[in-house]
């Protein structure tokens, strides 16, 4: 369990101080994949770097299994850090060492015997599918392979927590998927707690169970991924979940006009003729004001905004009808989505 209490981090710059994190409270249960998402500058990297004290909090606490990391001596902190591994956007492999020797690195730090360390490193390389690359140098590997090496290295000391700081942001979509799958399968195999920092919704959708949305250094919204993504409440969350709606200047609700947001959350229903059925069953005519759906892993995701001209009752009736359709979520938009 990682508990973050009232975490504040202020950086001193030439033009005064910048508050990167403003009183964050979070608790990350053991054995889950926890996502942290936000725009650039939202403070997500600072937050994850506070979790292993690469950044020292200005105020507040980071408790790992009940221990306040900031209270540890330098030596105790170094020992704790072996339980909280980290992988990075830039992989950060030692370029003058072979792949095998890179994976041995954290074991060398704790004084593991060389042959023992190499045996363990080979096992890890097998787990990430790179046992045939043991004796090559990182410069000879692709980005995805380098990140696999970094993952193997991060797991060498059998950590309980894996922090992923934009670990897939430098990779192409296909490689991103394979790395995410690897992280998820290792997480299940080793019962790890994984904290994923990303600016990509798709990453959260793919592997996270919980998500926290950061905006300007504060928690905008937090909860199980399904819940947050299907019914985003905060402005920041809506901006992430419906990026195009706000980009288009938002929906302005006029008099006698009602807007319904239909959310496809990975169901089969996206293939059904929803609007035609609505008209046939209820006689209510809906117009598509906005739509953006996509297929991820053969499941439909996205939103559609329907405009209905008529009374509130008509809108309610349409809502009622759509609630009976399986696999979609519907809600009335009565505010500016911006």
């Amino acid at each position: 369990m990682i508990e973050i209490r009232n975490l504040t981090k202020t950086f001193a710059t030439n033009d005064g101080s910048v508050e990167a994190l403003k009183g964050i409270n979070l608790s990350i249960p053991d054995g889950v994949v926890y996502g942290v998402i936000g725009m650039s500058g939202a403070g997500k990297s600072t937050l994850v770097r506070c979790m292993n004290l690469l950044e020292v909090p200005t105020e507040g606490q980071v408790l790992y299994q009940g221990t306040d990391l900031a209270q540890l001596s330098a030596k105790e902190l170094r020992e704790k850090r072996r339980e909280i591994s980290m992988i990075f956007q830039g992989f950060h492999l030692l370029m003058q060492r072979t792949v095998l020797s890179n994976v041995c690195f954290p074991l060398e730090l704790i004084g593991t015997k060389k042959d023992e360390a190499e045996k363990r490193a080979m096992e890890l390389l097998k787990m990430v599918g790179l046992e045939d690359k043991a004796n090559v140098y990182p410069a000879q590997l692709s980005g995805g392979q380098q990140q696999r090496v970094a993952i193997a290295r991060a797991l060498a000391t059998e950590p309980k927590v894996l922090l992923c700081d934009e670990a897939t942001s430098a990779l192409d979509p296909a490689t991103t998927n394979s790395i995410l799958e690897l992280i998820r399968s290792l997480q299940q195999q080793l019962n790890l707690t994984v904290v994923v920092i990303t600016h990509q919704m798709s990453v959260i959708e793919k592997i996270c169970q919980y998500v926290v949305i950061l905006e300007n250094g504060a928690v905008a919204e937090e909860g199980p991924v399904e819940e947050v993504f299907s019914r985003p409440k905060s402005r920041a969350a809506k901006k992430l979940v419906y990026p195009d709606e706000s980009a288009d200047g938002g929906i302005i609700v006029g008099p006698g006009e009602h807007f319904l947001r239909v959310i496809y959350n990975g169901s089969e229903s996206a293939r059904k003729p929803l609007i035609a059925q609505l008209a046939r069953d209820t006689g209510i005519l809906a117009n598509i004001a906005y739509a953006s759906t996509k297929s991820v892993n053969e499941r439909a995701f996205g939103t559609m905004i329907l405009s209905i001209k008529g009374s509130q009752e008509d809108a309610d009736k349409a809502m009622e009808w759509m609630k009976t359709v399986e696999g979609i979520i519907v809600e009335e938009v009565n505010e500016d989505v911006n």
């Binding site: 292993n52 020992e79 591994s85 980290m86 830039g90 950060h92 370029m95 003058q96 730090l109």
Partner: protein, 239 residues
């Protein structure tokens, strides 16, 4: 104007044969002395300069092992001071130290002391610049894995900057070779001494030119070996 061609040829011939004699009798020893002093002085300069270079990097305020500010100031001042002294002046200034260590201030071995004292601050700066080239993210990675400052120095900073350190060692050894030649004027041995004794004091231009040519060849050899080693050691260049 009348010039006796035979006479001119005679002089040139005598000068040549004398130069050849010097070349055969004195040059082998001189080359040996030059290499011996240069290499030994470089090794010793690194033995002192490399640790200081490391301190310059890790001891900074935001380094991995911050050291007291007064210490860092003192270190910088001493290095800059030694770096700004002209080599021949420094050689004279350290005569007492040389005498204390070697027992004499003249001779090949004695010249090693001022050479090391002149070169180690230079080497410290070279090592500092090599170590600063390291991607700071690598250091952060090591910290995130619980590496101690000592482990970061020995397992990350030095191994990762080996190619750059070799390049800079090549610069150091060629510079020290130049100082070594200069030391010939104040009792140092080697090719520099021959060039000065024969060429400057006795107007034996040919001998001087030969000595200079040999110095050029030595620099070329050191530089070529250094560059090759640096490239060969760099695993980033392997494809």
């Amino acid at each position: 104007m009348l010039i006796n061609p035979g006479f001119a040829a005679n002089i040139r011939f005598e000068e040549w044969s004398e130069a050849m004699k010097v070349f055969r009798t004195e040059f082998p020893t001189a080359i040996g002395q030059t290499i011996y002093v240069t290499v030994l002085a470089t090794v010793l300069a690194f033995a002192i300069g490399l640790p200081l270079g490391i301190l310059l990097v890790i001891g900074e305020e935001d380094g991995i092992r911050p050291l007291p500010k007064w210490f860092m100031h003192l270190l910088n001042i001493v290095i800059n001071l030694l770096r700004s002294l002209p080599f021949l002046i420094l050689m004279i200034l350290v005569f007492p130290i040389t005498r204390a260590i070697v027992g004499t201030i003249v001779g090949t071995t004695a010249s090693i002391v001022p050479l090391v004292i002149a070169a180690f601050p230079f080497v410290a700066r070279l090592a500092e610049s090599s170590l600063r080239e390291i991607n700071p993210n690598l250091i952060e990675m090591a910290q995130s894995m619980g590496a101690s400052p000592w482990q970061i120095v020995t397992k990350v900073m030095i191994p990762e900057s080996i190619p750059s350190l070799i390049s800079n060692a090549t610069i150091a050894i060629t510079t020290i070779l130049g100082y070594q030649a200069m030391s010939g004027i104040l009792g140092g041995g080697g090719l520099g001494k021959i060039a000065i004794n024969y060429g400057y004091y006795r107007y034996r231009t040919i001998v001087m030119i030969l000595a200079v040519i040999l110095l050029i060849i030595l620099v070329q050899i050191f530089q070529t070996i250094g560059t090759k080693l640096a490239v060969k050691s760099d695993k980033r260049l392997r494809k």
